[in-house]
Symmetry: C2
Subunit: 244 residues, 2 copies
Amino acid sequence: MQKIVPNISVDCVIFGFDFKQLNVLLVERKLQDEKTGETLIDDWTLTGYHIFEDEDFDTAAARILKGLSGLDNIYLEQFYAFGKVSRVDSPKDNIWLKHQHEGFSSRIVTVGYYSLIDNSTVTLQLQERNVKWFSITDLPELGFDHQEILNKALEKLRSKLRSEPIGFELLPEKFTLSQLQKLYEAILGTTYDRRNFRKKVLQMKYIIPLNEKQKAVKHKPAQLFIFSRDVYERTKRERFDFSI
Amino acid sequence: MQKIVPNISVDCVIFGFDFKQLNVLLVERKLQDEKTGETLIDDWTLTGYHIFEDEDFDTAAARILKGLSGLDNIYLEQFYAFGKVSRVDSPKDNIWLKHQHEGFSSRIVTVGYYSLIDNSTVTLQLQERNVKWFSITDLPELGFDHQEILNKALEKLRSKLRSEPIGFELLPEKFTLSQLQKLYEAILGTTYDRRNFRKKVLQMKYIIPLNEKQKAVKHKPAQLFIFSRDVYERTKRERFDFSI
DNA sequence: TGTTAGTGTGTGAAATTTACACATTGTAAA
DNA sequence: TTTACAATGTGTAAATTTCACACACTAACA
């Protein structure tokens, strides 16, 4: 059994895309009074855990994600560290932490990672806890300061999506241009003209058309594409928004 | 006297611009053997310190910066948290930490902030330590993992500079377009055509020309401009690089 | 009064962005 | 088998942005 670092944790914001919405994975936090049966806490949190003494941040994040999904090699990006003294301070949070009595420190600092997974295939679970996908446009009440953490994760994800090809991590290997467009629209909260989007994407040589079409759809099947990181790395050029 | 958190620190990467180069402020780390006088350590580090028990990350970063400059309200941005188990591991680092004997933990995690200041005016100092500006193109040997931290800071600064108007933090309030151009060139490592740069900047309404010219220069004095964050916030539009 | 060093300005070609409408394809239901 | 449905796939013209490029101007100083 490894020793945990009592005052440092890692929280994972796990994003998934179902071809319609951007979703985030949350774990239910439920606590009932042992005697009266009264519901003391019933809300949702991100998944996180303390780091071990001999463990890097990245490793801890990957461990947490693996515990939930069984998957390795998932896209993970550290986006912010949260260190406010008062970040875990509500009565509910204190009841919960006391109940866990794992020797947590009173002042816990957390490092946020977001992770992008194709949630059309995987189903995630955590032993004995209720785990569920929520659309980012329709979130339940969140425990701790996890609403703030999620907001920051979204902000950083959006910013990164604007300048780097990370959206593909949320799609299956083979995807259609409409799926890609919906992904960008869902995350950035805009809409694009289909023809213009298509024109733009098709001139990117690292988005490669396949001789293959969608199957089992009840309409005209669309052409499938893959993203080549290889071609991307070789051909990318530093664009300068110059948004000063 | 406040108690420090033994395993968490904040490190500040302090950037300055002298109208030619992007510079970073470093503190000399020098240690001589008390008996033999032999130089055990002689290199440079970023400025950092442990956080206090009742202190937020942001507050700690501001405190460190204030200790060095006497200044408040300096631009500070958290850019990454460093948590590798082996991040402070070299013989030199261990000698240094032992010598400090302030009860530091063996595993120290640090949160990186970068700060942008106009170094044409301020001179910084730290009591009893040698403090110096270094061009980022000509750095000395750095202690701990500070080279890695600096690299990350630069990467994040560059990325942010491409999409947000933070460059002005490195300039005096009134600046010329050439100064602005050199700033961008120094940080991003490119060059721009003067006419095109000027054209681009002048169509940004939040860069406002003054009825005032440079003084005490031995050539044709240039017009001065100010940046209006106010106008920027009102008129900015989300540009979409779409660099997928 | 000439030299120096950096400022300030315009145009045309090429590339990119934007707005916009209709025919096509496969599935499923009538 | 026919029809309705739902989503795919495609082109053009106008507007805007990007890019390359050279010479006259001004203050200070010698």
